[in-house]
Every structure is written in structure tokens, then in C-alpha cells.
């Protein structure tokens, strides 16, 4: 069964871009435009991986991350941070990977594949 990826970013165009890349490569996707909505969608959709923007107008990604980890059903979902902030490497400590904006579609796919593979192996 195809793996499901939840994309969270307050810029709808970016969510659309990420979803398109993943769908084109055989993944199922879901989208959310802020942390609160992201948590709701995550609980409902139970994604295998979440891409997360940090700097969002309504709720910062770091807060979403803390809330996510508190939920036992979601605490193990790997997070890939995709952000324009220079400090994103340090903002979320146990992120599976971090990607700087702007990014290449191939780069995102490569990271996502390797994270999902290592999850599957583990």
C-alpha cells in the first residue's frame, strides 16, 4: 500500500507543489496550512511521514512538533522539516531530516524515500 505523506505549510502553493511531487511518485498525500490544522489532519489521516514548515503565521512548526510527540498514536511519525529559516537544523531536534527552501523535487523525494526506508527497516 502506498505510503501517505502529510504536507504542512502556510503557503498553499508550497503544499500544492509538495503534494504534486509526491503524488507523481506514487505516494498518497494530505495537506494542512498551519500547525493546528496539521494535527487534526494527522490524527485523521495517520500519515507515514510529515513535511513541516517552521515559520508559519498562525502557529509555529515547533509547537506542532511538541503537540505531535505528545500524542501516543503519532509520536513515532518521522518529520522532515522543509523551511526557509537558516536555523531550521536546530529548531526541531529529532527531525528525521531538514531541507532548505527553495528545494529541488529530486532532493525532497530522495530524502523522503530514505527516511521511509529506514523507518520500514526499523
Amino acid at each position: 500500500m502506498a505510503k501517505k505523506i502529510l504536507c504542512i505549510d502556510d503557503e498553499p502553493g508550497v503544499v500544492d507543489f509538495l503534494e504534486t511531487i509526491f503524488q507523481d511518485n506514487g505516494y498518497q498525500t494530505a495537506g494542512a496550512y498551519d500547525g493546528r490544522e496539521g494535527l487534526e489532519v494527522a490524527r485523521r489521516e495517520k500519515p507515514d511521514l510529515i513535511t513541516l514548515d517552521l515559520d508559519m503565521s498562525r502557529e509555529w512548526g515547533t509547537r506542532f512538533f511538541r503537540n505531535l510527540r505528545k500524542d501516543p498514536a503519532l509520536s513515532d511519525v518521522p518529520i522532515v522539516v522543509i523551511s526557509g529559516l537558516a536555523s531550521n537544523k536546530y529548531a526541531v531536534k529529532d527531525a528525521a531530516a531538514t531541507i532548505d527552501k527553495p528545494f529541488e523535487p529530486e532532493q525532497v523525494l530522495e530524502v523522503v524515500r530514505s527516511v521511509l526506508d529506514s523507518e520500514g527497516a526499523g
Binding site: 502553493g13 503565521s57 526557509g84
Partner: protein
């Protein structure tokens, strides 16, 4: 004793007959007779009368010849004694001659012998008188000579004083090179000494070098008027007035050059045996004039420097009163005229805290500080103040010089650079998002092309154009902020401005289904503006209205109204009203502050700042009415 004066003769004779004979003989020779018959009275009478001649008969009873001679030689040594002896007492006569008697006659006295004896005695007396005269003359001569000697000594002493004076002068001149007296060396000074006959008695070297040897020449010999036969001169006036004189004169050197001099004279009282003298000092003013000119020139240079240096310079006393100020200071702050610096610079009533000048007064060390001051026309200036102590001869801080450099422009540039830095930080996130969106759009276009999926191509292309519009607006805002371009006003139809701005936001309006109501009072109404920048300003405000509508929780239809009308004061009003989220008071106050945004990371905080800046540049104004949940009204008034 003079010849015509009668000579007294003391005649000591006891035998009346002899006494009469002798008396008549003596009287015949012009003598005045003082007869004495009693030998015991002889000494007393002699002492009373002190005659020049004594004629005594040694046989007079009571007469002690030796005692008499003793008294005579003691009381009047120049009196002569002639003794008359009998045949029997010749030995007594010889003894008397030994004792100093002049002659001894034997009785009966031969008249011729008496004549000879009297003649001898008189000769002796005359000789002695002559000798005495010589002696007296010698005394006078000696006195006269010694007086001359004293006079000579006094003159010599005066010369010595003058010598010492001159040598002191020349020592001063010689030493002058070594120290502070160089001015003395530079200052030509002719010194001369003058006699009451108005003759030059002595001169210094410089005098001789300049005028030649003028010893014994008239005192006015150095003056230019000497050619007119005019003998008036400072020395002459000094002898007349008997006090020192001071005057300006013109001298003529031996090379016939004329030069102005300042003349000082000083009388030297001579005393009993020394002539009065006058000392004359002439200071050459032509050199002084040169020095004075150089000084004036140097002062002028310094004044120019002081005035023209591109700083505010002031000199403060201990009460912080401005004692001197340069031109630039006076231009911007007015003439301080002894006012306190804190009043002149800051309109304060008390010194500023941490006043650098006060600190310099306290410890004599220079200080530097930054401050904002207000010019007399109310403009604020950032200044960098440097204080320097001005010390008196004792090393104390008498005054403090304050040099204030206007760094307003530097501060502005610095602020500008700082805000550019902040701007870049603030827009970088938004830029990365926009770049990512562009990538997303082009990805879709490429993928659509690869699959022949037209819908995908259209979606991708729409994302690209939309994102490009956002990028363009942001870049233009940054450029407007960074460059602050000069505005070029030209008449533009107000309706065109409004329509252009609406055209700019139209894609977003359509995308989100927002409606915009445009109302123009008079389509031909023109305003004098810089079209490009006003377009940016209006667009930014409209974009803000769109954002406000999109942020509001929707209960009714979101809408924007743009109206253009002319007001009574000849201004053009662009009114942009939205029924969006509205602003709370804090938001409203900070609306036009650089980098302030109520849209989180969505906004750059640049748009309304730039709009306000442009409207300000046009001499217009922006008003805002807004309350949370009720929407906002922006009113742009352009002159």
C-alpha cells in the same frame, strides 16, 4: 698781614727815658706801640694784644725772658721778638736767640741797628706770611684738585653704570637666541647717552652700526628733521622738562633710510660734581610693524580656520557659558553672547547629565560623546562632541573647547544601512517561499508538458505568473526603500492612477472572489504627482486591503471600495475602504512603522511604510480610521 695795616709792637721797657726814645723811634717807623713797664704784666698783655713784634728790655724787673718767649712761640708763633740787653747780660741774649728770638740789641740802642733789627724781623714776618700764603694756596689747590678728582670719579662711575647697562643689554641680546628673549633680539633698539650741551656722549653697538660714530654730535643727529636745522628732539625736551619723555619720531640712518621709531628718554640727575645726563632708547617700529602685520595675518588665518572648519566650535568657561563661537556655530545656533551651552544647544535650563565639558573641567582630560542638539530653526542634529582643555600658565583648566561634528547625515546613512540589513532579514523568508512557489509552478508546467496534460500546464503557469507578480512587487518595494528615488511630478489623471492600482491587484481579487467598487467623481480630474511612485503607494494600500479582507472570518461578502474626489482645499483624496479584519489601536499607531506587520511572516512590514514615505515626499498625508472587526478606511490626500 697787609703793608698798609699798622703793626702792633709790644714795648717792654721800664726806664721812662728809654721807653720814650724807643716809642718815638718805633712810631716814626709806623708802628702802634703797646707799652708795658711792669715785667709781670708782659705775658698777659701779649696774650690780650697778640702783637706781631715784641721789643723787650731784659732788665725790666719781674720779666722772665725765657717764659715770655715760650708764651710768644706758643700763642702766636709768627710774632718776632727783639731783645735789648745791657753790657752785662749778653749771655741771656744769646740764650734767647737760641730759644727763637729774632735779634738782640745792646744798650744804648743804636738807631741804625734798631732799624736793621726791625727790618729783619719784618722781613721774617713777611716771609713767614708769604710762606703761610703759599701753604694756604696749596690747600686751596689741593681742594680744587680733589674736587676735580671726585668729579672725574663720579663720571667714571656713571660711565661704569652705562657700561654695565650696555653690557647687560648686549648679554640679553646674545642670550636671546637661547630662550624666550628672542623677541628682544628681533627688536632693534638704539641706545644713547646725552650731555646737557645736547651732545651724544655714548651709544650702543646697534646705534653705531646704524648711524655711524656720532659721539660729540648733536643729540638730534639721528632724526629725519635734522636737515631743516630743527634742533628740537626728545633729549632736548627731556632736559627742559626734567622728566622722561615718550614720542614717535622719524629717524634717518647713515644709508639715508627713513624709519619710524618709538623714543623713550630718561633723565639721569648728575648731583654736585657730575653733569645731568639723558638716556635715550629708540625702538625701530618698522620691524615691529612687520611683526604686527605677520601677527595680524596669522590671526586672520586662524580666524578663517576657526570659522570655516565644518564643525561647531565653541569655547566654554567654567559656568558653561559660551565665550567664543565660530561662524558655523552662529549660523545654526545664533550668537550665543555668553549664554550657557545647554540652553543654546538644547534649550535646557540645567547642564546635561554626563556633560563632557564639565568632566574635562574636572580632570583636564579630553572627552568624546554623542548627542542630539536643536538648531535655532528647530532642526535636530546628531553631533559628535569632542572636548579639549585650554590650560592657563599654571596648568589649570581655564576654559574648555568643544568641537561638535554634525553626524546627522552619517547617522541617517547608518540607520538606513541598519534597516536595509533588517529588511533583508525580514524579506528573506518570504523570498524563499516565493522561489519555492516558482519552482512549484515550473515543475507543474514541465510535468504537464511531459504528459501532454494541458490542465496541469495551465495550473503551473498560473502559479508562476502569480508568484512573479508577488516577486515583482516585493523587489520594487525594496528598491523604493533602498533608493528613495527623486520624484518627478507631472500632471496625471486621478482616475488613471486609481485604475492602474486596481489593475495591479485584480488577479488577487479575482482569485479570492473579492469585489472592488471604484467610484470616480470627475474622470478628467488631474493631479501633479510622480506617476510611478504614487502607483506603488496606492497599490500597497490596496494590497493591504486585500490582505485585511482575506484575514477576516467571513460572515458577509468581503469588499473593497476605492473612491477618488477633490476636496475643498484643492487636494485630491483617494479613499480605500475595506470590510476586513480591522486594526486595534496599537496596530493603527504602528501601521507606517518600518517592518511592522500584523500579518506574521506573511508581510514584510515594508508596504505601508513605503506608501507613507511616497505620500510624504509629495507633501501629502495618509489618515486611517479603523477598529477591529469593522474594517479600515485609508484616506490619501495629495496636494
Amino acid at each position: 698781614m697787609k703793608r698798609n695795616e699798622k703793626k702792633h709792637v709790644l714795648l717792654i721797657e721800664c726806664a721812662p727815658r728809654h721807653r720814650r726814645t724807643l716809642s718815638s723811634q718805633l712810631e716814626a717807623r709806623g708802628y702802634d706801640i703797646v707799652p708795658v713797664g711792669d715785667g709781670t704784666r708782659a705775658c698777659r698783655v701779649f696774650r690780650e694784644q697778640l702783637p706781631s713784634l715784641v721789643l723787650a728790655d731784659v732788665s725790666v724787673p719781674g720779666l722772665h725772658v725765657q717764659e715770655l718767649i715760650k708764651v710768644i712761640k706758643q700763642d702766636r708763633p709768627d710774632s718776632e721778638v727783639i731783645l735789648i740787653t745791657g753790657q752785662d747780660d749778653q749771655e741771656l741774649g744769646i740764650e734767647a736767640l737760641r730759644q727763637g728770638a729774632c735779634d738782640v740789641l745792646t744798650k744804648p740802642v743804636n738807631e741804625d741797628l734798631l732799624d736793621i733789627a726791625l727790618g729783619r724781623a719784618e722781613e721774617k714776618i713777611a716771609l713767614r706770611e708769604e710762606l703761610q700764603g703759599y701753604a694756604d694756596n696749596l690747600d686751596e689747590l689741593a681742594k680744587e684738585r680733589s674736587a676735580r678728582l671726585i668729579q672725574a670719579e663720579r663720571a667714571a662711575a656713571a660711565c661704569q653704570v652705562m657700561d654695565r647697562f650696555f653690557s647687560a643689554m648686549s648679554t640679553l641680546t646674545e642670550n636671546a637666541d637661547e630662550g624666550e628673549l628672542s623677541l628682544f633680539n628681533e627688536m632693534p633698539c638704539y641706545i644713547s647717552l646725552h650731555s646737557p650741551d645736547l651732545e651724544i656722549m655714548d651709544t650702543n653697538q646697534l646705534f653705531e652700526k646704524t648711524f655711524g660714530n656720532l659721539l660729540r654730535e648733536p643729540s638730534w643727529a639721528i632724526y629725519a628733521q635734522r636737515g631743516n636745522g630743527d634742533t628740537d628732539c626728545p633729549v632736548k625736551r627731556t632736559f627742559q622738562a626734567e622728566t622722561g619723555q615718550r614720542s614717535r619720531e622719524l629717524i634717518r640712518t647713515r644709508r639715508e633710510q627713513l624709519a619710524p621709531v618709538e623714543v623713550h628718554t630718561l633723565p639721569f640727575p648728575g648731583g654736585d660734581n657730575c653733569e645731568d645726563m639723558v638716556l635715550e632708547l629708540c625702538v625701530d617700529l618698522s620691524r615691529m610693524e612687520e611683526l604686527r602685520n605677520t601677527l595680524a595675518e596669522t590671526q586672520h588665518h586662524y580666524q578663517q580656520l576657526f570659522d570655516e572648519v565644518p564643525c561647531y566650535i565653541s569655547v566654554l568657561d567654567e559656568d558653561l557659558r559660551v565665550r567664543a563661537a565660530n561662524k558655523r556655530f552662529k549660523e545654526d545656533f545664533g550668537d550665543p553672547a555668553g549664554g550657557c551651552c545647554y540652553r543654546v544647544f538644547k534649550q535646557r535650563e540645567a547642564p546635561c547629565t554626563d556633560c563632557p565639558a564639565l568632566m574635562t573641567f574636572e580632570d583636564g582630560l579630553p572627552r568624546q560623546s554623542e548627542s542630539a542638539v536643536q538648531t535655532r530653526d528647530g532642526a535636530m542634529r546628531n553631533v559628535l562632541i569632542s572636548t579639549t582643555p585650554l590650560k592657563d600658565a599654571q596648568g589649570g583648566v581655564a576654559q574648555v573647547m568643544e568641537v561638535s561634528t554634525d553626524i546627522t547625515r552619517i547617522r541617517e546613512l547608518q540607520d538606513h544601512l541598519t534597516s536595509l540589513g533588517l529588511l533583508l532579514g525580514s524579506v528573506s523568508h518570504e523570498m524563499k517561499n516565493l522561489l519555492t512557489l516558482t519552482d512549484g509552478g515550473s515543475y507543474k508546467v514541465e510535468a504537464g508538458l511531459a504528459r501532454g496534460d494541458l490542465e496541469r500546464i495551465q495550473q503551473g503557469w498560473q502559479t508562476v505568473t502569480h508568484t512573479l507578480g508577488r516577486i515583482k512587487k516585493m523587489v520594487l518595494d525594496i528598491l523604493l526603500y533602498a533608493k528613495k528615488p527623486e520624484i518627478e511630478k507631472a500632471p496625471v489623471k486621478a482616475s488613471e492612477l486609481a485604475e492602474d492600482a486596481v489593475g495591479q491587484v485584480r488577479p488577487r481579487l479575482d482569485e479570492h472572489g473579492l469585489c472592488l467598487d471604484l467610484s470616480l467623481a470627475d474622470p478628467s480630474w488631474e493631479v501633479l504627482v510622480d506617476r510611478d511612485t504614487i502607483h506603488s503607494a496606492l497599490t500597497n494600500i490596496l494590497e493591504n486591503a486585500v490582505d485585511a479582507c482575506l484575514s477576516a472570518p467571513r460572515t458577509d461578502r468581503p469588499s473593497i471600495a476605492l473612491s477618488v474626489r477633490a476636496c475643498d482645499q484643492g487636494q485630491t483624496i483617494f479613499e480605500i475602504a475595506d470590510n476586513g479584519v480591522g486594526l486595534d489601536p496599537e496596530c493603527r499607531n504602528n501601521l507606517f512603522t518600518l517592518f511592522y506587520t500584523s500579518k506574521g511572516r506573511k508581510g514584510t512590514g515594508l508596504g505601508l511604510f513605503v506608501a507613507k514615505h511616497i505620500v510624504d515626499q509629495h507633501g501629502g498625508s495618509i489618515e486611517v480610521d479603523s477598529s477591529p472587526g469593522q474594517g479600515s478606511v485609508f484616506r490619501v490626500a495629495l496636494p
